[in-house]
């Protein structure tokens, strides 16, 4: 295929990606070093209240934004270097915490709190998702053929459901007087509230994520199981391999490329954990990196969006995903290079 034809085919797609992915990235990078603030001025205001005999008048200095000719608040944009990063990272507090050896208090700072949760969430759910997905795939493969269709249908539901709605569905089961909380209270005889402390909320989030993603792993493993080489399996049986050894040494190595694939997708998707925070309304206890940026971008009570801090936190989020993905990406790169030649 000539370059011009190739460019004509790929052009629109590349253009969209440049305009809406690459350029915004550059913009975020630049914005994170800038700050846009309303221009403020100090004016002397005299306020008078009617009093006995004479009015009581006070003059005070007020800081108000300058209104431009078009009736809007005038703003200035300044380069401010790493100031936004500093206010997101709050390194001074971090060093102080390390100095006084109270490591726990680092986790009081929003960014570090979010980082801790996001990383733990991504890395802890990864083996769970792969394990549960593999078990479901093995058991479905074991089931009667006629039942497999309906089982796959039911299994797909958690995967396909809108993430916010999925987490809300679980939230409603456990909320104050929800059915499962009531059940647990009856068993334990104590008063339980699942959303009053961080660790129970986090536990439910782990459950939600595994519930939501395991079907995806299951479907892929299930497809992989259909292509296991029966000859290898039979020779393993003849060599006297037990069921567990066959799984360990024949089936899992066969599925290895799929496991890497799922790990890659899971790292990408789980690192941007966000909808759970909205669904479980956990922002008081548990937040994630993406939620942090979202929170900066939502206008506050005065209608201002903290764009520069959002950009700084977005850049830091991006650094994290790059680190997480180096290993699986290199592997994919090698595989494709190997396949191409």
């Amino acid at each position: 295929m000539k370059f011009r034809t190739f460019a004509a085919f790929v052009g629109p797609s590349v253009l969209m990606m440049v305009f809406f992915i690459a350029l915004p990235l550059v913009s975020v990078f630049l914005e994170s070093f800038k700050v846009t603030q309303p221009v403020m001025q100090q004016v002397e205001v005299e306020t008078c209240t009617p009093g006995f005999l004479t009015q009581t008048c006070t003059t005070e200095l007020k800081t108000i934004p300058v209104i431009g000719a078009d009736g809007k608040v005038e703003t200035t944009t300044q380069w401010q270097g790493l100031q936004s990063y500093r206010s997101v990272l709050q390194m001074d507090k971090v060093w102080a915490a390390i100095g006084s050896s109270e490591i726990g208090s680092i986790l009081q700072i929003d960014f570090w709190k979010a980082l801790r949760f996001t990383l733990m969430y991504t890395l802890l759910t990864l083996p769970l998702v792969i394990g549960v997905g593999l078990i479901i795939a093995l058991t479905v493969n074991n089931a009667t053929r006629a039942l497999r269709g309906p089982i796959i249908f039911v299994s797909l539901l958690p995967f396909i459901i809108t993430p916010v709605i999925g987490s809300l569905a679980i939230y409603w089961l456990f909320v104050g007087d929800g059915i499962l909380t009531a059940m647990m209270e009856r068993w334990s005889g104590t008063n339980i509230s699942m959303f009053a402390q961080a660790w129970t909320v986090e536990l439910l989030m782990y459950f939600y994520r595994v519930w939501h993603v395991a079907p995806f792993a299951f479907v892929i493993f299930y497809a992989g199981l259909q292509t296991v080489n029966m000859d290898t399996l039979e020779s393993a049986v003849i060599d006297g391999a037990s069921r567990w050894q066959r799984l360990r040494h024949v089936i899992v190595p066969h599925l290895m490329p799929l496991i890497v694939f799922i790990a890659l997708i899971h790292l990408m998707d789980c690192y941007r954990v966000f909808e759970e925070i909205v669904g479980f309304r956990s922002q008081a206890h548990v937040i994630s990196l993406q939620w942090l940026t979202f929170d900066f971008l939502v206008p506050d009570d005065a209608g201002n969006r903290a764009i520069s801090r959002a950009s700084a936190s977005a850049m830091l989020t991006m650094v994290g995903i790059v680190f997480l993905l180096i290993w699986p990406l290199r592997r994919t790169w090698r595989d494709h290079r190997g396949g191409a030649h």
């Binding site: 295929m1 370059f3 034809t5 190739f6 085919f9 790929v10 629109p12 797609s13 590349v14 969209m16 990606m17 809406f20 992915i21 915004p24 990235l25 913009s27 975020v28 846009t36 479901i136 074991n142 089931a143 089982i151 796959i152 249908f153 299994s155 797909l156 958690p158 809108t162 916010v164 709605i165 809300l168 409603w172 089961l173 007087d177 519930w211 079907p215 995806f216 479907v219 892929i220 497809a223 992989g224 049986v237 069921r243 694939f261 690192y271 941007r272 909808e275 909205v278 993406q290 940026t293 979202f294 900066f296 939502v298 764009i307 950009s311 989020t317 995903i321 993905l325 790169w333 191409a340």
Partner: protein
Amino acid sequence: MSDTAKALRQPFALRFASGAFLVFWCVLAAFPIFWITVMSFKSPRDAFAASPWDVITGPATRAAGNGLSILDIVVGLVVLFFALRWAFTRLPDLVARYSPPGMIVLGWLLGAAVYALVFVLLFFGLLPLILGALNGVLGPLGQPVLGLTTQHYEAVWGENEFYRNFLNSMLVTAGVVTISLTVGTLAGYGLARSGSDLAFWLLILALVFRALPHSVLVAGYLPWFINSAEILRPIFGEISPTLYGQPWAVIAVLVAINQPFTIWMLRSFFQNIPAELDEAARVDGCSHFQAFRRVIMPVMWPGVITTGLFSFLLGYNDFLVTALLLDAQNQTMVPAIAGYFNRETTTTDQVEAVAAAVSITAPLFLLVMVFQRQIVSGLTAGAVKG
């Protein structure tokens, strides 16, 4: 050989454990969705009752005069059964017969819409009228036994004008699916047939883009979108739009976010179509575009439908982008449900939120029902080709 078969046969305990786990998983997978569906049809007191039996039977709902008698349930199930059977046996024939050649997708869309409309009219309009009259005559059989009310759905779709959000969702989703497929098919085909280094690097770059958290991108759009009218004024003059709050701007954003995934997936589909097919067309004197249109397009639909399903899910399920880039007037369904959190003060509000959530889930449920095979094959195709 028989030794192998014997060795592969599993002991009873293992088979039992495997079956038990499977039942457990199916219950686990379906329960939250099933339960919110049940809750959404009950009065608030029943929906949040402590005993599960009360939630299912709904005594308070029944006491308020909303309930189904045994007759209602039997007739309802029979009608439902025949409606479903008709949809799977007769509807495909009708669609195939009446849709113009080559427009089968359009025919299906129209057929499904008409079917859904007739079903809703019949099931929720005509049936209650007939059954109401019958229940009065029948006496004990006509007494309500199962509490059930649609008042929350009426409140959500009627008073709260949820249909506006529904229409916005449909607009955004339809836009995302059509544009991302049009752009993506061309790119996927080009990438599959090129094999050059540039194509390889584009794919790796797309994979990196796939990994970007969406909030990073939205942080990049927001300042530009809010001020776009002033930025674009020198070029477009007075008609320059404010992109913030425009559904079509959101469509463009979601299409771009979806592109990396779309081109990877479509590329692997096109690689499965033998290259001899378009080479033959080229030998006969077609250009690349003609070959694509005349030879590839007729055989590419399975892959395109599968990829389209995933684009649909991305557009339909999105919360972050639509919540930040659209304002309250043209909000889509998923962020709109967040509005219920702020109002969620009484239990009635809570159940209304549940009803809204179920309303959002229902189309997805139908989607899995109709397209289960395509979804599975799409997931696997992505995995096998990496």
